[in-house]
Symmetry: C3
Subunit: 339 residues, 3 copies
């Protein structure tokens, strides 16, 4: 939130200043409406006209243009924007140790100051690192470990024994460490298999609202460092996800599947159990993976093919009814000539 100069922002993003570097900037703005203490951005050339008449004090862009604003020329506007936005809007972090009077904290919980615990949060015999924020109504079971600078949003639940690295973020209603879906058939019914393992979320993982990550039957369900998971995803027991992955909303991964580093799964992708996806696999939205994917690349479909083949196949389906008509007619003609 702290005011700074154009030159300081340019240094932050590794950009080059054109114009006045000493202008003071206090926040992000829209080029069409912003005042002189705001910085906006130009992502594509069609905004050049807007930039030409903007009242903003500064603008982030990839190529200089005519504007009254100070310019910061950068290689990647999106990356630079993220860094500037994080400067003015840093993630929540505890700076003062403050446990709300209505929070229920176990006498043997270990809170490394400063930690912020919100109203009605319930902390069992857990450990919470410095800088972490546990918001209203969140529940941390016994044996939970949070690293430094974690953020647990309202009404999220961490089952006993779950371990988080540093700077892990859980959004509202997320659940980590619920029982894996483990049953064995005995006769015509189901016998529960106790789920004795746990979950580890490594550093810088972010988990979306309502997402559920189950504990392992034995051992660990593990989410690799810097992997980001969107809302309403399900990660079943014993899954192991690599680092730097991104899973859009509604992804469902069945048990014991492993996913390599830097994989990107589109929204509502479903992945079967006991499968292996190597690193750098990208699966398009709403696709279904029912076999191992052992080559990096782009996949799509239900079940998945290589993306291009699927797109062409689906396009070709528009001819399918005509093809079938011809086939049916031909078959009829063949039968006639047989008779």
């Amino acid at each position: 939130m702290s005011e700074t100069t154009v030159a300081a922002l340019a240094a932050l993003v590794g950009g080059r200043v054109i114009g006045d570097g000493e202008r003071r900037i206090a926040g992000i703005g829209d080029l069409r409406t912003a005042g002189p203490d705001r910085i906006g951005f130009v992502r594509n050339p069609s905004y050049a006209a807007v930039a030409a008449t903007t009242g903003a004090g500064a603008v982030l862009l990839a190529e200089s243009l005519t504007t009254p604003a100070s310019q910061i020329v950068v290689a990647d506007v999106d990356v630079a924007f993220a860094k500037v936005a994080l400067h003015f809007h840093p993630l929540p972090q505890a700076r003062v140790h403050e446990v709300h009077a209505t929070a229920v904290v176990h006498a043997e919980a270990g809170l490394e100051p400063p930690v912020a615990v919100g109203p009605r949060a319930v902390l069992g015999r857990c450990r919470v690192g410095a800088g972490s924020v546990v918001m209203a109504g969140a529940v941390l079971g016994d044996g939970v470990v949070l690293g430094r600078d974690c953020v647990v949003h309202p009404n999220a639940t961490l089952y006993p024994g779950v371990r988080l690295g540093d700077r892990v973020v859980l959004h509202a209603g997320a659940v980590v460490g619920s029982d894996g879906f483990g049953y064995v058939r005995e006769g015509s019914t189901w016998l529960k298999v106790p789920q004795l393992g746990s979950v580890v979320l490594e550093d810088d993982v972010e988990i979306g609202a309502g997402t559920a990550i189950d504990r392992a039957t034995i051992g660990l369900t593990r989410i690799g460092a810097r992997t980001k998971i969107d809302n309403l995803c399900h990660i079943a027991h014993n899954c192991v996800l690599g680092t730097d992955c991104a899973l859009a909303a509604g992804v469902m991964i069945a048990g014991s599947t492993s996913i390599g580093d830097r994989c990107v799964l589109g929204g509502a992708v479903g992945i079967g159990g006991h499968l292996k996806l190597v690193a750098d696999v990208r699966v398009g939205g709403a696709s279904v993976v029912l076999k191992d994917l052992l080559q990096a690349g782009e996949y799509m479909g239900h079940p998945v093919m290589e993306k291009l083949a699927w797109l062409r196949t689906m396009h070709g389906l528009h001819d399918f009814l005509a093809m079938r008509e011809q086939f049916v007619e031909q078959r009829r003609a063949d039968r006639k000539s047989d008779g």
Copy 2:
């Protein structure tokens, strides 16, 4: 819940009374079991025999028939039933100002009496309109605005700054205003893009249990008036939904997509990002939309086609294996004759 007469109910639903309009009715009942102070309904002719011997005091129906009950003849039985049911079972509404002793309400929160706040609810520096009900364990962040007669069910979470119109209903565990899934690649990893915008739910919106609606990156995610969203849906950042839409459970909409008025999305529909659906589009359950839909109409499939074409294509798929067999044989024969 208030007892009334057959004639008054007929006036409420714009129906015509046959028989005694002065009978007193105290609630809804099943024609097979109801007593004389209950009203039932006949939706299709096969219930005529039941109506003929019912003990209920009144019956809603589209065409009069022989029955000891007073009859209310209406154009649309479903609409009339909904109105009668709402008369006897109105939505929750605060009539007395009552903040439970265990609720945590910020000193600067603005509650316009009467408001009902349940046990353990947490209200930040927010504003809540008259008649609204905030149930147990719900969390309203700073800057949240609720209009009049809103209902927030237990353990729902509203992130800071989210704004609701009048008569908005959020079911249990719903999350509104969580961070959009915004990251940019920097090298091989992800840099978070702070999500600085907010969410607006206009008048008479209803949001199902566990549904998550993300705040915009900049600007607003907006749900139009009277749009109804079922359980476990995901609406990503910057989406704009029109008015009078209905989204069944499990719908997932990726970022920056806009949906026109009166659209109906079946259960588990997936819609890609940055797309436009015009007004009056209907998408069948479990379909996947990966392109703009710029004509009103019915669509279905993965990816969607016009509904009729998709149904015929899927039906035709039953012949596909025979077609392929013929193709493979033909190709084999061709090769032979080439050789």
Copy 3:
């Protein structure tokens, strides 16, 4: 959690002891690392080498082999393992009556001791059977009934009037009894149909994290005894599920559908409304059911076919582009010869 002997465990699982039956066992272990008070298991022959040198005191297996551990030979290792694990890790159960000081319990709630109520739980005018555990932040509305030995995990919500049998488990964030998605069109907008029914979960049902089960419009939504439902599923109003079913994560079932006993639905399966699935139907992951399934068996696809036909059809799709090319060429040639 209680220490016991190899012989006692063998009796528990109906197994035959080879070696010392008097060894004392205190818990489950991994054969590679466990000490002499642990029992491990061998699921497949490749573990024979591990068993030959294990330090564990006992091992569960299907056929005896050479090992220093005492052996318990059983017909089904998975079933035996589940029973042994449940012995050492029984499900949560209240043994001492204990209501946390911060729980909010209605004066007329009926708790049959012993019941354990966690911090910040909110219990309306409900009834809770002996042995049940209601964890932190859970909310039980008025009229809720829990049988004996139920477990309600943190931040789960039971709407008023919902009834649970004995030994029902609800995981964190689950919602039972939310309004069904019932609206009728009146002109261009939606009129809410009040949802006056309720939900019954019969004995031994388990419900996953974040799963939502809606109350019926009138009457009951019902989940049969011993049916297990994974995370983030949606069961709409008026559905009736049989006994001994298993629904993997993300299953979505639209309104008024009935499912027979012992059905197994894979992850992310979608089922339309007003359908009937008979007993012993198995539907593969990510499949979509849009018609009645009136024969027991295995189904798969979008929409479903018999599983084998679908697998063969999807495999054949790899030839589709070549088939279409031939078709297009043929059509071109035909046109030429016509002209």
